[in-house]
Amino acid sequence: RYTLFMSAFDKISKSIDSIYKKITQNNSSRAYLTLENLQEPYLEGIKFNAIPPSKRFRDMEQLSGGEKTVAALALLFAIHSFRPSPFFILDEVDAALDAGNVANVANYIQERSEDLQCIVISLKDTFYSKARALVGIYKDQKTASSSTLTLDLENYRD
């Protein structure tokens, strides 16, 4: 149990800092995991800390909405590095992000989509315009049903 747990924990905590730096496009940001109980870690908790660019240590609870979103995405991709799933589905994760963070997150996902499928629901054109293809959904009044249109963006790329 200890070995299993630690192999997961080690891999995730080694990768979270570089992923967070990459998403925030800033080497001054830091993210790390600390074990509350070193002997039997699975009995206690794991503290997650993320320090946004050009800030210093502060309790996770005091981060702003947008800062928490970026930290959460870094954690998710770090967990993925240990237990990779073939795809991600993200539903309006950009809701609390300012324009700068939307661009950072969209760029990161575009890069990651080389090796894993990312399906992203978004209302922001600065996000979804980076995708390779779009599914547009509308409510068809006549049939009282959702209907879809598919658009391959790769035809429009310069």
Binding site: F5, A8, L33, P41, Y42, E44, G45, I46, K47, F48, M60, E61, L63, G65, K68, T69, A72, L73, L75, L76, I79, F82, R83, P84, S85, P86, F87, F88, I89, L90, D91, E92, V93, A95, A96, I109, Q110, E114, Q117, C118, I119, V120, I121, S122, F127, A131, R132, A133, L134, V135, G136, I137, Y138, K139, T143, S145, S146, T150, D152, E154
Partner: protein
């Protein structure tokens, strides 16, 4: 591999049979409020075996298409097919889950390439392609992203244990 196409039939706001796709490696879903974007994510989560309470429904029957303001037709059923493309073997696998009603009770059926299988076999087949539904660390439902960063240390340990 990756999700190549979906076939949605009478699921939530999607009436009749609709084929959605092909999906690419970076795929976006867009549309106005209330159009059915989250319902499409629910459709993918449903075919992977995610439980109904996570899909904004209290019973299986809630997931079947129902015109606004009407009661559910006791004979109605719904089905989702997920076409999975394996990049190495260049072959498709069709994962399907459907809901049928019998004497007012709704139950799920699981099929792989049109053959009915037990849920355990279905879940194993998903594991083989790298999809561990129990961990769900690859699905972020609407409004839940911030909560991932605010988990208590104990919750984080539990999350790591499920995937260890």
């Amino acid at each position: 591999g990756y999700i190549e196409q979906l076939e949605v039939e009478n699921f939530k706001s999607y009436r009749d049979r609709q084929i959605i796709g092909p999906f690419k490696k970076f795929q976006s879903i867009i549309g106005p409020n209330g159009a059915g974007k989250s319902n499409l994510m629910d459709a993918i989560s449903f075919v992977l075996g995610v439980k109904t309470s996570q899909l904004r429904g209290s019973t299986l029957a809630d997931l079947i298409y129902r015109p606004d303001g009407q009661q559910l037709d006791p004979n109605a059923s719904c089905s989702i097919k997920l076409i999975w493309f394996n990049e190495e073997t260049r072959e498709d696998t069709v994962f399907q889950r459907r809901i049928v009603q019998k004497q007012g009770k709704a139950t799920s059926e699981y099929l792989i390439d049109a053959e009915t299988v037990k849920k355990e076999e279905y879940v194993d087949a998903l594991k083989n392609i790298g999809v561990l539904v129990k961990a769900r660390n690859f699905l972020v439902f609407q409004g839940e992203v911030e909560a991932i960063a605010s988990q208590t240390p104990k919750e984080l340990t539990a999350m790591i244990e499920t995937i260890a």
